[in-house]
């Protein structure tokens, strides 16, 4: 009898995992913590800043993270540094031309080298993500390591009690070059480096009704 019960439970569990559907996470964070940091070496001091106008949808299945799909959008006119004049230069047609190219996007293609481990509040997946990055209207395929943390039932901890839902935290750190994306290619490299360091830390929410 005990064996039959165990088998039935296992079968139910297997059936459940087979029918598991991806969860859709919205990355327009109501608390506004999502941000992309950027850093360029320059004379006098490195130019560093942040962009926080982040939106997008990522479809993530905790049981099949390699099937993750989605798109993250950064509003280019939210890129800000600590000096107003520099911020204006950064957004001008000389650099990012945010009027003509209002969005910086990353379209997720595939995940490889996927490894998932359990963490106290959920699951952490590390992988190499390949996707299409578009900056200033130029699209390039890039591959970068990514860390995805799935936090089931954690939404109410950062919103309000009774607000059921899951969180998906995505972190990535990578480097792009100005010349690859047509940002003053080959110009002023003695003053501002060609390489731009990018650090992404974003969270998506999936409320449960």
């Amino acid at each position: 009898m005990k064996n039959i019960l165990t088998s039935a439970l296992l079968a139910l569990g297997l059936a459940g995992s087979l029918t598991a559907t991806p969860i859709s996470f919205d990355f327009k964070d109501p608390k506004g913590v999502n941000n992309v940091q950027f850093k360029l070496d320059a004379i006098v001091e490195a130019i560093s800043g942040h962009a926080n106008g982040i939106t997008g949808i990522v479809s993530f299945d905790p049981d099949a993270p390699e099937a993750t799909t989605g798109k993250i959008i950064v509003a280019a006119n939210t890129m800000t540094v600590s000096n107003t004049m520099m911020t204006q230069h950064l957004r001008s047609d000389q650099w990012l031309d945010v009027a003509a190219n209002p969005e910086i996007t990353f379209e997720l293609g595939k995940l490889s080298n996927v490894k998932t481990t359990d963490v106290p509040d959920g699951k952490r997946t590390t992988a190499d993500v390949t996707g299409k990055l578009t900056i200033k209207g130029v699209t390039k395929e890039i591959t970068t390591p990514v860390k995805i943390t799935y936090l089931p039932d954690a939404l109410e901890k950062r919103t309000k009690p009774g607000n059921k839902g899951d969180l998906l935290v995505v972190r990535a750190e990578f480097t792009v070059t100005r010349k690859d994306f047509g940002i003053k290619p080959g110009q002023m490299e003695d003053k501002v480096s060609d390489e731009i360091g990018l650090y992404v830390a974003i969270v998506g929410t999936a409320p449960k009704s």
Partner: protein, 109 residues
């Protein structure tokens, strides 16, 4: 009644400024020096920022549930090395201008 004849002596003319420095030049030199000192003092008091001037400061914050570090910008003026350089140049220009535009002393024979 005859008009008095023009003076042919220098007895009533002001003394030539050959050796003296006009008062306004001294004032400008002192002002220029104080200007440079004031700029330096302000820059130093604001934190010896050897980077560019900032008009907003990124205050780091932490979202405790997700562990995400983010920043909130606060409006605050922090003078940088460009502010110090520009201010010093203005002070030096003020003081330095007093060494130019001198009138040649006119000596009446």
């Amino acid at each position: 009644m005859a008009l008095p004849a023009p003076s042919t002596t220098t007895a009533s003319s002001p003394p030539p400024p050959a050796d003296g420095i006009a008062g306004w030049r001294i004032v400008l030199r002192i002002f220029g020096a104080f200007f440079v000192l004031a700029i330096f003092a302000y820059w130093a008091a604001a934190g010896w920022n050897r980077g560019w001037t900032k008009d907003k400061i990124a205050a780091p914050k932490l979202d405790e549930v997700t562990g995400i570090e983010y920043v909130e910008f606060q409006d605050r003026f922090v003078p940088g090395i460009d502010f110090l350089t520009l201010g010093s140049c203005i002070g030096i220009a003020i003081a330095g201008s007093t060494f130019f535009f001198r009138k040649k002393p006119t000596i009446t024979p």
